[in-house]
């Protein structure tokens, strides 16, 4: 047997559970208690499209260094689902640990001899202690949490405090939970060697950071950014976005005196209506958004074309998943890049923003509302299930109190009264962006008729080819303007000069940072650029020009961002090397490291890695 893994504050624990068994809150307690010990951690839910019965996993990455992407591999498996036993056991790193419910004996063939095995009679203890079947089920989860607290040398006080916070208001539940915690802990202290090689140690590495999902953060960004109308239709993984927006609005968006609502949220009959509501509201001067996923964006296509050509602001959050509905609706991907960049019919191009984590999702939500108004066009915020539904440890959200909403070019009553010339599609300032008016502004001036492209600069009906060309050329010019207004890419230099580069975006960021460090240790140096928006800023093309070979790391099969880069930048495809991860689980640092190393024909490291701190 290999030497058991030894690591302090740097390992991966995976919980294998049955959906609907109440494990989620115990698992979340585990992750949060680590944070309360001052040790950075992130957690990822890998869950089925099902309410009860199917397998579900919860993976916790502990990293005092702050590497919070998925690392790859599992050091300790908490195997609570007999159905996935074999694959769960197989996933453990050599020298790793298996914790399981040993109430029912399992044949020796079910185990591996290169890992340490800790079997606790969880069901037996629960049956002894509790009569109610539901309690037996729920407390079993707290029991394994208690056992882990001893095995990993966790701070029990931190867990107890969290239990107290979780059940505040339902105080009767605190004591039984604390009791269950200690039942598990006491069993471990009495029957297992505590702690195991993987250990937690109080640190001071969390600081001011907060633990939150991207859907919640972005929904709050919409509240701060002044969105007043939301139209949506439930779809995983975006539903919690609209639900969070409604919840925050109930809290923060009431008239202090009348208590009436300064917002309107409509759960529409489908995604067509959801985007229609957004477009109608934005046409009429309210900030509006929808949150959806790939299949929803598909249904919105026609409206997106109208909004593009009629130049109506609209903000669409695409929480990407493995599509279609019977695809992998509860798994993550970055596979809607092309379908959003060119959504709809005709010559359309849309602005896309790529937040890397919930913190940026908060910022980009507010930025997208500004950008949509400024550019008078749909703006997509390209999130994914990993950012949207998993809790991330991120810098606290911040808001500059001096920030004002950029409502873009809107003529007021006073402007119209003064007699400024108004042509709805007239490029007055040379940036391709015309002025607009809200309905009802002035009794005799500024009214116009909104339609697709059969119009001239003054919004008058025409089917003239030359007027069409004039208009769509201006739209292209407007897209150029967008380059300078969207978030700029972020460039990072390797420690030493290199001709190799890597481009990445979105939720790949934390795994990428860790992979770069590991590659550096192997002598592979890469300059990097994180794309944050489409259209691509000139910096992106400069970066590609400055390197001989550029890896483009994405979570889709077809290298969609790479395709956009090739087309928009007229780049030789040979120069852009795709690194693609698309099995529906979040990309891992080890995957990126090995894929890049392999492309560079560097002899791969043996799969067995040291897990020493």
């Amino acid at each position: 047997m290999p030497k058991p893994l030894e690591a302090v504050n740097d390992f991966v624990v995976k919980f294998s559970n049955v959906n609907g068994s109440g494990s989620a809150s115990a698992n979340a307690l585990f992750a949060k208690s680590i944070l309360r010990m001052g040790v950075p951690a992130s957690s990822r839910n890998i869950f089925p499209s099902n309410i009860q019965g199917l397998p579900t996993w919860f993976e916790v990455r502990v990293s005092e260094k702050g590497h919070l992407g998925r690392r790859g591999g599992v050091d300790l498996m908490v195997a609570m689902n007999p159905e996935t036993w074999d694959e769960d056991v197989a996933e453990i790193e050599p020298g790793g640990y298996l914790f399981y419910d040993a109430t029912k004996p399992l044949p020796a063939s079910k185990f591996r001899n290169d890992i340490s095995i800790i079997g606790a009679p969880l069901t037996a203890i629960c049956n002894r202690e509790y009569a109610d079947p539901r309690q037996r089920q729920l407390f079993k989860n707290i029991l394994y949490l208690g056992a882990l607290s001893a095995l990993l040398d966790m701070d029990v006080a931190a867990i107890e405090t969290l239990i107290g916070e979780q059940f505040r208001g339902k105080d009767a539940l605190i004591r039984p939970n604390v009791k269950a915690l200690h039942l598990g802990r006491d069993w471990a202290l009495a029957h297992a060697e505590c702690p195991i090689g993987l250990r937690l140690r109080r640190a001071n590495a969390v600081g001011e950071r907060i633990f939150i999902t991207g859907n919640e953060a972005a929904a709050l960004g919409c509240v701060y950014g002044g969105a007043t109308v939301a139209g949506w239709y439930p779809i995983t993984p975006s539903s919690s976005f609209a639900e969070a927006f409604a919840a925050y609005c109930r809290r923060y968006r009431r008239d202090p005196v009348s208590k009436q609502h300064r917002y309107a949220v409509i759960q529409a009959e489908d995604e067509l209506a959801a985007i229609g509501i957004v477009i109608g509201a934005a046409w009429n001067g309210a900030r509006a958004f929808t949150a959806t996923s790939g299949p929803g964006v598909s249904l919105m296509q026609e409206f997106l074309g109208l909004a593009y050509f009629a130049e109506i602001p609209a903000v669409i959050f695409d929480i990407q998943r493995g599509s279609p509905s019977t695809g992998m609706p509860t798994r993550t991907q970055q596979a809607d890049i092309l379908s959003c960049a060119h959504a709809s019919h005709g010559d359309t191009k849309h602005v896309l923003l790529f937040p890397q984590d919930p913190n940026e999702a908060f910022l980009f939500a507010a930025d997208a509302l500004d950008l949509a108004d400024r550019l008078q066009t749909p703006v997509f915020v390209m999130m994914d299930l990993d950012i949207g539904m998993n809790e991330w440890l991120i810098p606290p959200l911040s808001w500059d109190p001096r920030r004002r909403y950029d409502r873009g070019k809107v003529l007021s009553f006073a402007d119209l009264e003064k007699g400024v010339e108004f042509g709805r599609y007239l490029d007055v300032d040379g940036d391709g962006i015309p002025y607009r008016t809200y309905p009802g502004t002035h009794p005799t001036r500024g009214a116009y008729f909104t339609r697709g492209t059969t119009k001239d600069r003054y919004g008058r009906y025409t089917e003239e080819g030359s007027a069409y060309v004039d208009n769509v050329q201006r739209l292209l010019h407007k897209f150029e303007t967008a380059k300078g207004r969207a978030p700029r890419p972020i460039r990072q230099k390797a420690k030493e000069p290199t001709r190799l580069g890597a481009i990445y975006f979105g939720s790949t960021a934390p795994a990428m940072t860790e992979a770069l460090e590991a590659l550096e240790e192997r002598g592979i140096r890469l300059d990097t650029l994180r794309v944050r928006a489409f259209p691509f800023h000139d910096d992106v093309l400069d970066f590609i020009a400055a390197h001989d070979k550029v890896f483009v790391v994405e979570q889709n099969r077809d290298a969609q961002l790479r395709t956009l880069l090739i087309v928009e930048g007229e780049i030789d495809p040979k120069k852009l090397v795709p690194i693609l991860h698309y099995d529906g689980t979040p990309i891992t640092a080890r995957f990126i490291e090995n894929a890049i190393a392999e492309r560079l024909s560097v002899v791969p490291l043996a799969p067995l890695r040291k897990a020493l701190p």
Binding site: H261, I266, A273, G276, G280, A281, N284, A286, W399
Partner: protein
Amino acid sequence: MTYIAKPLFHHPQLPTNALGFTHRDYEGRVSTLCAGCGHDSISAAIIQACFELSLPPHKIAKLSGIGCSSKTPAYFLDASHGFNSVHGRMPSVLTGANLANRDLIYLGVSGDGDSASIGLGQFAHCLRRGVNMVYIVENNGVYGLTKGQFSATADKGSKSKRGAVNTDSPIDLVGLALELGASFVARSFSGDKAQLVPLIKAALLHKGAAFLDVISPCVAFNNHPGSTKSFDYVRAHNEAVNRLDFIAGREELTADYAPGTLEVVVQHDGSVLRLRKLAADYDPQDRLSALNYLRRQQAAGEIVTGLLFVDPDAGDLHDFLDTVETPLNALGEEELCPGPEILAQFNAAHR
């Protein structure tokens, strides 16, 4: 296409309404529909209704889907903002617009293809929600703009111009509107301006979802013998349940009606609807019996017209959502942004 040159000058003696506007101030661009198209008569009725009610044109937003009917907002109310959206989806755009600014009057114009075929879902859901609007379907039983295919309101057995017989059951939008909770439901005929104008006026003053189904013959594709949406057929089968004679804000009742023949309905804003009863026991405030009556007469081949249902005290979507009185599009950072202190608390709660 109707070529009517519209002189731009105002005749000094043109009558003006309470706002000092003339009829001309409510008109739109020259219509490009076929000469004699029913839709043009509906546009004229809308112009007259708005003029007579002295509505400020810029406080009306006119929205439509796609079709000949949906083109018409360009032909009335030139001083209003208009939105020719996408096929069958006007209701959602109107709903969003209404949410953004509750202070405007929303006029949705659609066709039978637009509302009963491709847009049936949106039609249903915006009525369910009680969006405060006037929703007019200019119903000709065919797709005019794509040259005469049957729409979902075409009657079973109705014959197309080329002789094809429709074998599908029709969708009755009035029946649906009643079932879905519209708080004002009427049917009329583009060829009966005396009936149509007062109905549009009453609908414009109604608070809540007002739906008007206006049979509007397509002279190009559906005005032949064998069609149940031709001028001749509708004239022959039109059965009005009442006549809306008169609407006014809070005026005294003075006209002399035979006892039992007058129904007076006072709407939310105080406007008074005087309904001269034609069908003796028809009660326009009883949703269920309205539905029943409609079904019975329909089975007998009659086209029931008039004010079929009104709930004068209906609420609207803004009431249901309890939104603030100030239009949402007029709120700024002050009212909308919770500020850094709340954010600090929010951060603290996520540690």
